[in-house]
């Protein structure tokens, strides 16, 4: 299981444009990816409705996980998107 723990820096949190970019990028993966926030069960990172419902605000920390070979590169990109201000 590979995972990345990042703090969301965008002013709008993981909503709007950052959320769309995040989900579009995750959707390219041939394997499952989840995203979780403290105290909340992980959700499908390829689902915009789920990611929006997670309601990640600026300054909150999320964990992005995938259980697959070669997931590292994509997780790095997702972490980069989530932590961009």
């Amino acid at each position: 299981m590979a995972e990345r723990k990042v703090t969301v820096m965008s002013e709008v949190g993981l909503h709007a444009r950052p959320a769309a970019t995040f989900v579009q990028t995750a959707a390219q993966a041939p394997f499952d990816i989840t995203v979780a926030k403290f105290g909340v069960p992980p959700v499908n990172a390829k689902s915009i409705l789920s990611v929006l419902a997670l309601d990640v605000r600026q300054g909150e920390t999320i964990v992005i996980s995938a259980d697959a070979e070669g997931a590292d590169e994509l997780l790095d990109r997702l972490a980069e998107i989530a932590s961009a201000s």
């Binding site: 965008s10 002013e11 709008v12 909503h15 709007a16 444009r17 769309a20 989900v23 579009q24 959707a27 499908n44 390829k46 689902s47 915009i48 409705l49 789920s50 929006l52 419902a53 309601d55």
Partner: protein
Amino acid sequence: MSESAAGATLRGLGVSPGLAAGPVCRMEDPSHLRGRPWTAASPAEEADTAVRALLAASLGLAALAEKAAEPEARAILEAQSLIAADPLLQEAVRENVRDGMHALDAVTAACDHHRDALLAAGGHFAERAADLADIANRAVAAALDVPMSAIPDPGHPYVLVAEDLSPADTVTLDPATVLAVITERGGPTSHTAILARARGVPAVVACRGARELRDGTPVTVDGALGEVRTGVGDAEAAEVRRREAARRSRLRASTGPGRTADGHPVKLLLNIGSAADLDAEVSAEGVGLFRTEVLFLDRRTAPDMDEQVAAYEAVFRALPGDRVVVRTLDAGTDKPLPFLGLPEETNPALGVRGLRVARARPDVLDAQLDAVAAAARATGVRPWVMAPMVTTVAEAADFARRARARGIAHVGAMVEVPAAALQASRLLAELDFLSVGTNDLSQYTCAADRQHGELADLLDPWQPALLRLVAECGAAGRRAGKPVGVCGEAAADPLLAPVLAGLGVTSLSMSGPSVPAVREALAARTLAECEEAARAALEADGPAEARARAGADRPERDPDA
């Protein structure tokens, strides 16, 4: 004019002057899609059909996004495309099919379920609820293989007939193809009316019987009188087009500052949403209403400082004349701004809108004032700044403090709430100018929703009660020696312009195509005649009597007729 045997005349409210002749093309109301007959196949096939329909909706939205001119519209449509392709929706439709639904019901129920969840979550989320209703309609249309409701594109110019037009619909309206607009609903200050006027497209709203107009029916439209005639022949249509061409060229030829016959100045200004609305063909003395929320509308995130400064600079540099009045962010009922994160309200027209948003988000107002001040420094233009929905003297004083702290010299308020009109003198003790927004002032004075077609008579700017409130502002301005403008759609009515001037209004701000006719109307009367017309209108019991008393009861004369 002779009525042909099959001809009929439909009447509505003329909200955008001009004549047009052409074939009807209807915009379908998406609700017609629900409850269509559907022959269900096996559950596996139904599930696949439903998922394919969602993906088709997603692709359609992505294609629309690509075509959208404005970045804001593009962002909205892209996000909506992403939602249509969401795996959660696909899981939901498969589950619904397992529960015995056919493909269409499965799609509708899945979207309805998520829409309700978003509405329950409120704020940001509720904002997306309408997207899901639209996705359901699009997916069902795709499954049925029928066209989705959209501005039609029959390949020739036409008269658009619709139940009503949403702001999103109007984004795709091309004035070169749409000769005129007829809607069954809507009022004189609805989006349809404002956008049609802004684009110079003749329009008739609240038109009873428009429902019966069929595709291809040749009609003529008079957007001033609010008349739609069917059963017109080719010769009559050609004559209407000739008169419209003559009217347009006559109006284009008009230039110069606004003056009464005896030289009393009434500034003629423009209502704009961005630099793109500044039409070089229209001669005006400046901008009387710069609606800055166009920059914010449908935004998922607040525009950053650089983006705001650039947008304001673009307008300041392109100004006709030397006046520009910037209205700070006007968020509200018909203009929700998702990034503000305001909670849903049961009665948004009476809720947190206009300057009231600054109670919850003073940072947004301060940032905007910073950006206006920065654009002013960069261009050397000295903008006037006003706040929407000012209600009390304290609000006016607070706004003035914030603006002046940033070096903005001319600070004013929109008068849209009757309370503000009644306190006009006190407001002017704190401020440098007032600008009467007659659309909202009508809505609040007569307690009638701006979009309510059935109540359009109450929204008539000739209602004497409304004119009395304008008179209150005009008198306060005269006493204080400070300008009082009108920037609602009433300012675009050439028949009302002399009355407003007579009430003490010092500037009229309107969409570009309206300027020439208002200029001509002012030039036809002396200030004393304007004052007499104003007194007469104030004494009337209702709009029709006010028009008659002010000598404006006859339709605009067409010298080419």
